[in-house]
Subunit: 269 residues, 3 copies
Amino acid sequence: MAEPVITLLSDFGLKDPYVAEMKAVISAISPLTNIIDISHSIDKFDVRMGSFVLASAAPYFPKGTIHLAVVDPGVGTERRPLLVEAKSASYIGPDNGLLMLAAKKDGIKRAYVIRSRKFMLPKVSHTFHGRDIFAPAAAHLANGTPPSQFGPSIENYISPGFARPFLKSGKLHAEVLHVDDFGNIITNVTVQDLKKVGLRPKKMVSIKLKNRMLSMPFCETFGEAPLKAELAQIGSHGFLEIVVNQGSASKKFNARAGNHLIVSLEDSR
Amino acid sequence: MAEPVITLLSDFGLKDPYVAEMKAVISAISPLTNIIDISHSIDKFDVRMGSFVLASAAPYFPKGTIHLAVVDPGVGTERRPLLVEAKSASYIGPDNGLLMLAAKKDGIKRAYVIRSRKFMLPKVSHTFHGRDIFAPAAAHLANGTPPSQFGPSIENYISPGFARPFLKSGKLHAEVLHVDDFGNIITNVTVQDLKKVGLRPKKMVSIKLKNRMLSMPFCETFGEAPLKAELAQIGSHGFLEIVVNQGSASKKFNARAGNHLIVSLEDSR
Amino acid sequence: MAEPVITLLSDFGLKDPYVAEMKAVISAISPLTNIIDISHSIDKFDVRMGSFVLASAAPYFPKGTIHLAVVDPGVGTERRPLLVEAKSASYIGPDNGLLMLAAKKDGIKRAYVIRSRKFMLPKVSHTFHGRDIFAPAAAHLANGTPPSQFGPSIENYISPGFARPFLKSGKLHAEVLHVDDFGNIITNVTVQDLKKVGLRPKKMVSIKLKNRMLSMPFCETFGEAPLKAELAQIGSHGFLEIVVNQGSASKKFNARAGNHLIVSLEDSR
């Protein structure tokens, strides 16, 4: 059997030695493990963005994958290092909510505080638990160490709520989850939510975003709208996205994660 | 024997989960395959740049490599997913010309439309064929599925011409192919082309670029020119490059891919 | 046994085919070798930054690792290609000092000039020794070729001195080694150096940087300082760092590698 995959996600960026040091530690402990980067370009300290990106990618990985994620503004303080065992994968990182969107979607079985020094580097710094605690934990887990040996099981891990759209007078009050590198504005509105307001392909949708009223077609593909025109569509993760055909919607509408929006079927009298 | 290498090239950037989702899909289907990134920083929707970078890197990979490339402004429209079998490698991606500079250099044996749902993810989105169609196809190909099983063979794939320099009154009319991260200006002029105008190392070359007449030495290495001075040389892919010794030629001359230039031996009366 | 790890470090950036070409060459010669990127975002031609990043990451890799590093402003000139055998790893790259901070820390056993054409690509360009000389050398070394077969042993390799802080009137005169992607200002001051001036956690430290006198607490973790406030701490590589809690110290103090600073215990009368 192939060793499990270990994925890495962080806000470390790619110029410094930090990501390589985590990989070095993993490959020293578990040489045959296959390491796959999810992203190291999470905005600095943006736990929310990290949790969205992790939760988007995680379901596509093979069963048994170990996800190591570090966006960790509280490193060195009281926040605990966490190992979460879920139905199809394990999640290792700081207890600040980062892991929980992915782990809950997956189905949490049990969470542990990583406490045993045996599975850490001999010297644990105050500032880089990714290398000194999380990477060795992931590698030892890949080698077959049972989760329960890392430390005590807990239930009071931090588990942020993620805003869901709500319906009010026939309109969806929603939120921007993420703006991707193309400038696509990804909202928290699902296909099921859209059915509640009667939105179907080929109809026009009204979107109030940053005090602007936008009107655009609800399409299945970019190509249905003219070049550089905006459209709404269901993106590859099942969420409503505001997109500009071969352009950047986030630049056009100056939008960012956390912005509120109101979505409704355009009046069709 | 080791599994074949799968390479990835895209315009997805590195902050989002998209690249990782392709790798996840591949490693779920073909766990022992070695995945190597060529680039994910192709300019958005720039098929031409993607095809240049792919064609530059591909020849160095071992025989049997599978190149998966996605710069895909037409995703979800009528454009077809393609699998090209060439002499030493296979190429998978959209039928928009992206694969063809590399595949033609390699020697095309046969091209197929990827149509069999058996080799796609169960749910195919309208916006992310890289993950839903191309990645599983590459992984199944790596596992040994014969190319012909993916769909019907075609011959009318899109195959853009790539501009070649032409000689007029003893001067080469040429084009900028690519500007690299160092700011080196890579042209489509080859060593053979230069022989036609009599250019040899140590001679001076005249280059008309963006209505400016430049005069610089034709060198074998950066080091022959003073620090921060411009020079022309044959780059590592066999093309004439305009370079600034430890500086950026593209900034100095404000050049970009697609710019025209006229190259001649400097008058030596 | 698993093949040794080959690490890569360069100033090539990630958009061009260059990094992939090195990986292609390695995987063609040594298909089972595990390649791990340290960084390809070293500032262009910045040998000093490259040597810092390499020396930071190298000690965490398993014994037998081969580090291939290319920041190479002198490519194609007289500068020699180098293979350094050290106690726990090998180092391959240009003879310009890039490898030496890491190799000296590791313990140099012997250095060789890479001269045998047998271990280079058939055609060696003047501009890309990373692909044509260093990558094949690393792959052949991974395959078991003894270092002495690559070329003659030398002792006159370039080995820059790295500035160490010095004590003058009870103050440490020191230097900024690196500014990381978080904006943390990493100095060349170690814990041992700090003892000489009597600095201990919880004390206040005076730092003169770019003609500004700064006063900040010397902390063990970010979290001890208020949000967006500056602090000094020992970073994950054992050096004194000037940090802003969840902010960028380099932006706040406009600092960069090479800046001088004077560190002292704040007067505690």
